[in-house]
């Protein structure tokens, strides 16, 4: 029986030239849930998820995934375990078609089987509503569509854990609605870790919320617990939620 937590960190710390971006973060991520990571700008959210998926090397501390210590694994090995990651700053293959984009993502797992790769690549485009643009060059898409493609790149990997760094940034209202639907449809099968500034999105999707401030965990809990947490109110949510 797999444990409740799919991922946890112990004392994860990142120091940039003497400044702590993250300080001894202990964190647990529950299987099958949607967890939102929130906090003010510069709280160290992106650094933290960067250390989880191996993009950024930790100064010290440990990361466990499925009860396995993955702290010394390079990024691509962690991804191969089933962690998908979408960038905060859109990073798609701008010179290739959308279909090639998602096919590259799908091919890592499906390998030589071209038929399966293509089917998967089309399926995820369908799922995010970009199928009719499959043969366009990604760089020609609008910013919002590129964000959506970025998410599709993650989906094409059929991840166990899906880490999204500010996925709704720059999306239009209707696109945000689609995104929320997508996340809600995924939850259950896929564990989702979401960095999000849009509190509306957080409240509509998250089962759990963790608040980071000055590189440290300020609070963790269900949305309502966080909503009622005095410290969080004071430090971050302030009047925004009340208003």
């Amino acid at each position: 029986m797999a444990s409740v937590n799919i991922l946890s960190t112990k004392g994860l710390t990142k120091t940039y030239g003497g400044i702590d971006a993250n300080m001894d973060v202990d964190f647990e991520l529950q299987r099958g849930k949607v967890t939102a990571l929130i906090g003010p700008n510069g709280a160290g959210k992106s650094t933290f998820v960067g250390m989880i998926c191996g993009r950024i090397s930790a100064t010290r501390g440990e990361v466990f995934f499925e009860d396995q210590n993955i702290s010394s694994m390079p990024a691509h090995k962690r991804i191969q375990l089933g962690i998908a990651y979408t960038f905060q700053i859109t990073s798609v293959y701008a010179g290739l078609t959308l279909l090639e984009n998602t096919a590259i993502s799908a091919r890592r797992r499906l390998g030589k089987d071209n038929v399966a790769v293509n089917a998967k690549a089309l399926e995820v485009l369908e799922r995010v509503g970009l199928a009719d643009r499959a043969h366009q060059i990604a760089g020609d898409l609008s910013y919002g569509h590129q964000r959506v493609l970025e998410i599709a790149l993650g989906l094409a990997q059929d991840p166990v854990l899906f880490i999204l760094d500010e996925p709704t940034q720059g999306l239009a209202e209707t696109e945000i609605d689609d995104f929320v639907d997508l996340i809600n449809a995924l939850s259950g099968d896929t564990t989702i870790l979401l960095i999000e500034h849009n509190m509306d999105v957080v409240m509509r999707t998250a089962d759990q919320i963790t608040v980071l401030e000055f590189g440290k965990t300020l609070a963790s809990g269900t949305p309502s617990e966080i909503h009622n947490n005095q410290a969080v109110q004071a430090a971050y949510l302030g009047t925004a939620v009340d208003a």
Binding site: C53, R55, P74, A75, H76, K77, I79, Q80, Y85, F87, S91, V92, Y93, A94, G95, L96, E100, A103, I104, S105, R107, R108, G111, K112, N114, N118, L153, Q157
Partner: protein
């Protein structure tokens, strides 16, 4: 997709068939030229795999070409090995050298990668001169006609040389065509387009890049060995910077990241020099002007422009 792969098969086998046909159609001089062009195109294809498909610009490929060349040449002349074994020695040397260079140079990226490969190649060139008592330095040495027999065939005749070059070209050409459509090749393209993204999709980009350097370097070395064997001369000229710049020029002219580009680039450059030198002594001037015009009006190279404007499926 399947239609495209059919087209691409037609194109590749059609090209080979055309080269066979040209042997019977062209006058002797051009047959000789084409033998040489095909071997140089192998060199360009090796370079293209790294530059055109993986996005790594090496300015030191002459090192690999020369390694293959000297590996074969010295195995035959100094150690008296038969040409078949010597060819293997040449390629193995190229594999070893490209592995070492790959492990070191891939710690850098971008312009630093360019310069590091350039400097290793320069060190290689000077090494050839330094060991002049064995390599005969800049003068180089001749592999005697009598020894240039491969698998029982005297490859110094026009016909056998042409077909030896054609077989070599076809093998590498089809290999590259297969490779760039394989998952491995698609991953190289992904690395070229966006390395960070590719790594974060779970691909081992470091290993892929190293393999690309090794395959590219080995093909270049194979071309060098074949050049020495078919044309009977081994010399330090082939290790100079100029011979690192040539494949870049050929590939850019023909179309980087296309399977046919390297061949087109070599043909174009060869005949540009050859024909303009008949018109004037100042043929380099013409070559220079044509290069400038091409960059202005055919920015993606000849095959690249054809792909952009006519045949989108061109591999």
């Amino acid at each position: 997709m399947t239609k495209n792969s059919l087209y691409s098969h037609c194109l590749h086998f059609g090209t080979i068939a055309l080269l066979v046909a040209l042997f019977f159609l062209l006058p002797a001089y051009h047959v000789g030229n084409l033998s040489r062009i095909m071997v140089l195109a192998v060199y360009a294809m090796g370079f293209n795999l790294l530059f055109g498909y993986t996005g790594l610009l090496s300015l030191g490929h002459a090192l690999f070409f020369a390694t293959g060349m000297y590996g074969l040449g010295m195995a035959m002349n100094t150690f008296g090995l038969p040409s078949e074994l010597a060819l293997i020695v040449g390629v193995v040397c190229a594999i070893l050298v490209s592995t070492a260079i790959g492990l070191l140079a891939l710690r850098t990226t971008g312009v630093a990668f360019m310069i590091v490969t350039l400097m290793f190649a320069q060190a290689g060139y000077l090494t050839v001169l330094y060991f002049g008592s064995y390599t005969r330095g800049d003068e180089g040495f001749v592999i005697q006609q009598a020894e240039r027999i491969f698998a029982g065939v005297d490859i110094t005749g026009e016909t056998s040389r042409y077909f030896a070059a054609l077989i070599l070209f076809s093998i590498v050409f089809l290999l590259i065509a297969y490779l760039v459509r394989s998952p491995f090749g698609r991953t190289l393209v992904a690395i070229r387009e966006n390395e960070e993204r590719t790594k974060m999709l779970g691909y081992d980009t470091v290993r892929h890049k190293l393999l690309a350097v090794i395959i590219s370097g080995s093909i270049s070395g194979l071309a060098g060995a074949a050049y020495a064997l078919l044309f009977g001369y081994v010399g330090a000229t082939f290790a100079t910077v100029q011979y690192s710049i040539f494949p870049l020029l050929w590939v850019l002219l023909g179309g980087a990241g296309t399977t046919l580009g390297p061949l087109i680039g070599v043909v174009f450059m060869f005949y540009l020099i050859d024909l303009s030198s008949e018109l004037t002594q100042a043929y380099m001037l013409i070559a220079g002007v044509v290069l400038v015009l091409l960059t202005l009006f055919a920015p993606q190279g000849l095959a690249g422009e054809i792909r952009r404007k006519v045949f989108k499926w061109l591999p």
